[in-house]
C-alpha cells in the first residue's frame, strides 16, 4: 500500500510537471502582453521595458520556466500581475471554500444521482424510469447559471429558507452544492442505471434472491456495491468537470472559491494566477484519480493495487 502510494505520487508529480510545462508554454505564446497591462495606459516605452526586465519577462522561455520551477519548489507561485498579491496567499484564502463546495456538490450528486439511477434501473421500462431519465437529462442540459439563479430565487428570495449567497454556515452551502450537484446527478443517474441493469442480471443477485433476502438487502447490499464501481472511477473525472462549473456557481452565490479567481485571471491574462490555479486544480484532479483508485479495492476486494 505504502509502496503503491509512493509510486503513484511520483507519477502524479510527473503529470503535474507536464501540466506546468504545457500551461507555461501556452501562456508564453499568448499574444496579450502582461507588461503593458501592468504599466497602464499612460506608460512610456521606457517604463514598459523597466517592468519587463524586473519581472524577468525579457528572458528566454527556458530561463523563465526554470525560474518558475525553482520558486515553485519552495511553494512560491509568484505575485499576481494585476492584483499584486502573492498568488499562494490568494489561492490559500480561496481554496477551502472551493473544497467545501466540491464536497457538498459531490455529496449532492451522489445522493441524487445514485438514488435516481437505482430506482430507474429497478423500475426499468416503467413510467417512473422514463420520468427519472428525462429528469436526469434536464439536469445535464440545464445551464448552471439559470439553475443557480432559479434555486436562489425560489429558495432564498421567495421562501427565505437559505441566505442569498455568501459563505459561512451549512445553510450557505446547500444551494450552491445543489446547483453543482444537479449536473453531476444527471450523469451519475444515467451511469448508475446502466451499470445497475447489468448487475441485476448477474448470478449472485439470483443467489441472493434464492436466499430469500428482502428486496432492500438485495439492492443495497448485493447489487449496489457492484454497480457503484464504475461510478467510483468517475470521481476523478468528476473533479475535472467540476472545475468547469465552479466559475459560474461561485459567482451566482458569491462563493469565495478559486473559480472566480481563475475566471478573472483569464479575462485579464493574469498569468501567475492562471498558472497557480491550473496547478492546484491539476493537483486536485490527480488526487481525485488516486483517491478513486484507492477506494476501489475497499469496495471490490478483487481489485489489487498495482
Amino acid at each position: 500500500m505504502i509502496a503503491y502510494l509512493g509510486r503513484r505520487l511520483i507519477q502524479s508529480l510527473l503529470i503535474l510537471l507536464g501540466v506546468s510545462l504545457i500551461t507555461f508554454a501556452l501562456l508564453y505564446l499568448l499574444p496579450a502582453d502582461p507588461v503593458r497591462q501592468i504599466a497602464g495606459r499612460s506608460a512610456t516605452p521606457q517604463t514598459v521595458e523597466n517592468i519587463r526586465q524586473q519581472l524577468g519577462l525579457d528572458q528566454p522561455f527556458v530561463v523563465q520556466y526554470w525560474r518558475y520551477l525553482v520558486k515553485l519548489i519552495s511553494g512560491d507561485l509568484g505575485r499576481s500581475y494585476i492584483q499584486r498579491s502573492e498568488v499562494t496567499e490568494l489561492i490559500v484564502s480561496r481554496l477551502p471554500a472551493s473544497l467545501l463546495l466540491m464536497v457538498g456538490a459531490i455529496l449532492c450528486e451522489l445522493l441524487l444521482g445514485l438514488s435516481m439511477g437505482l430506482i430507474a434501473a429497478v423500475r426499468r421500462g416503467t413510467a417512473t424510469d422514463q420520468t427519472l431519465m428525462v429528469a436526469s437529462f434536464v439536469g445535464v442540459s440545464a445551464p448552471q447559471f439559470v439553475v443557480g439563479l432559479l434555486l436562489l430565487y425560489v429558495f432564498a428570495v421567495r421562501l427565505s429558507w437559505f441566505p442569498i449567497g455568501g459563505y459561512g454556515t451549512w445553510r450557505h452551502l446547500v444551494l450552491p452544492s445543489l446547483t453543482m450537484g444537479i449536473l453531476g446527478a444527471g450523469w451519475y443517474a444515467r451511469m448508475m442505471r446502466s451499470s445497475m441493469i447489468d448487475v441485476l442480471r448477474q448470478d449472485y443477485v439470483r443467489t441472493a434472491r434464492a436466499k430469500g433476502l428482502a428486496r432492500r438487502a438485495i439492492l443495497f447490499r448485493h447489487a449496489l456495491p457492484n454497480a457503484i464501481l464504475p461510478v467510483i472511477a468517475m470521481i476523478g473525472i468528476d473533479i475535472g468537470i467540476f472545475m468547469g462549473g465552479i466559475v459560474v456557481v461561485e459567482s451566482v452565490f458569491g462563493w469565495p472559491g478559486i473559480g472566480q479567481l481563475a475566471w478573472q485571471a483569464i479575462q485579464r491574462v493574469d498569468i501567475p494566477i492562471i498558472m497557480g490555479v491550473t496547478l492546484v486544480s491539476a493537483f486536485a484532479i490527480v488526487l481525485g484519480n488516486l483517491l478513486a483508485d484507492i477506494i476501489a479495492p475497499f469496495i471490490d476486494p478483487r481489485i489489487k493495487l498495482r
Partner: protein, 288 residues
C-alpha cells in the same frame, strides 16, 4: 426449418415506440436546420425595428414572432432553426469525434498493455489534469475563431473522460476467455478490437455519447464567449442561452426555448441509444 432472415437493426428500431419518437425528433431537428430558409420568413440576423418595444425590451411569443424576439429584436424561432446547424455540428460531429478518439485511445490502451498502453494512459491523465479552458483560449488567440475550431477544441478536450472509462472496461474485457478463444483461431488485434471488444462497450459509449450532446452544446457557448467559437451574430443554441441567461426572469422564452431544443435533441438520442443498446444486446431479446 428454413433459416429466417435477420430482422434489420433499423426495422427493429422503428418498431419501438420510444425509439421512433427519438428518430422523429432528430429528423425534425435536422430538417429544421437544413430547411430553415424555407421554414421561416425572417433572416436570423435581422434586427427588426418592430422586434423590440420602444424602450428596448424583447417581445414575448405572439402571432407574429412565434417564439418571441431576442434582445436585438431578432426572431427567436428563426435563430433557433439556424442555430440548429451549429449545434448539430457540435453536439453530433464534435461530440462524436471526441467519443471516437476517446474510445479508440481507451480500447487501444486497454488492450495493448505494454508501453503503448501506459504511454496512452499517462497522456490521458495529463490531458485530464490540464485545464481545457486554457487550451481553448490559447487556440483562440492563435486561430481565427470559427465553428470548426470550436468543434476541434471540443473534440480535443472531451475525449479524455471517455478514454478513461473505456480503458477500464476494455482492460477487464481483454481478460475474458472469449478473447483468448479469438486469438487461438488466429484473429488479429484489429478484428478482436472492433468485432469483439467494441460491441461490448456499446452501452458505455451510448451513455457517454448521449450525455455528451448537452454538455458539448453548452460548452460551445462558453468557448464562443471566450472568442473561440462561432462569433455573433451566428446563432447556436448554446450561445442563445448564454447571451440571454441573465434575462431568464425578464424574458424567460429566450432561455426556455433553446434549452428545450438542447434537451429534446439529447433525449432523442438517448431514446434511440437506449433502444439500440437493447437491440444490439442479444441477452435482452424478448424485451418489448
Amino acid at each position: 426449418m428454413p433459416v429466417k432472415p435477420r430482422a434489420g437493426v433499423w426495422r427493429r428500431l422503428v418498431r419501438r415506440r420510444l425509439a421512433l419518437l427519438g428518430l422523429v425528433i432528430v429528423a425534425i431537428v435536422v430538417a429544421g436546420a437544413v430547411l430553415a430558409p424555407w421554414l421561416t420568413g425572417y433572416d436570423p440576423n435581422e434586427q427588426m425595428f418592430d422586434g423590440l418595444t420602444i424602450d428596448g425590451s424583447p417581445l414575448p411569443p405572439d402571432a407574429k414572432f412565434w417564439l418571441g424576439t431576442d434582445l436585438l429584436g431578432r426572431d427567436l424561432l428563426t435563430r433557433i432553426l439556424y442555430g440548429a446547424r451549429t449545434s448539430l455540428i457540435i453536439g453530433i460531429v464534435a461530440n462524436g469525434v471526441a467519443l471516437l478518439i476517446g474510445t479508440l485511445v481507451g480500447v487501444v490502451a486497454g488492450y495493448f498493455r505494454g508501453w503503448i498502453g501506459s504511454a496512452l494512459m499517462r497522456f490521458t491523465d495529463l490531458m485530464m489534469a490540464f485545464p481545457a479552458l486554457l487550451l481553448a483560449i490559447c487556440l483562440a488567440a492563435v486561430f481565427e475563431p470559427s465553428l470548426w475550431i470550436v468543434a476541434m477544441v471540443i473534440a480535443l478536450v472531451n475525449w479524455v473522460q471517455t478514454a478513461r472509462v473505456i480503458y477500464t472496461e476494455t482492460s477487464s474485457l481483454a481478460e475474458r476467455e472469449f478473447i483468448d478463444a479469438e486469438r487461438t483461431i488466429g484473429a488479429g488485434a484489429p478484428r478482436i478490437l472492433f468485432r469483439h471488444i467494441l460491441p461490448h462497450l456499446l452501452p458505455t459509449i451510448i451513455v457517454w455519447g448521449t450525455l455528451g450532446i448537452s454538455t458539448t452544446v453548452l460548452l460551445e457557448a462558453t468557448l464562443s464567449f471566450l472568442g473561440i467559437g462561432v462569433q455573433p451574430p451566428t446563432a447556436s443554441w448554446g450561445n442563445i442561452i448564454f447571451e440571454n441567461q441573465t434575462y431568464f426572469q425578464a424574458a424567460p422564452w429566450l432561455v426556455f426555448f433553446p434549452g428545450a431544443a438542447i434537451l429534446a435533441l439529447a433525449l432523442a438520442f438517448n431514446l434511440i441509444g437506449d433502444a439500440l443498446r437493447d437491440i444490439l444486446d442479444p441477452t435482452q431479446r424478448g424485451r418489448a
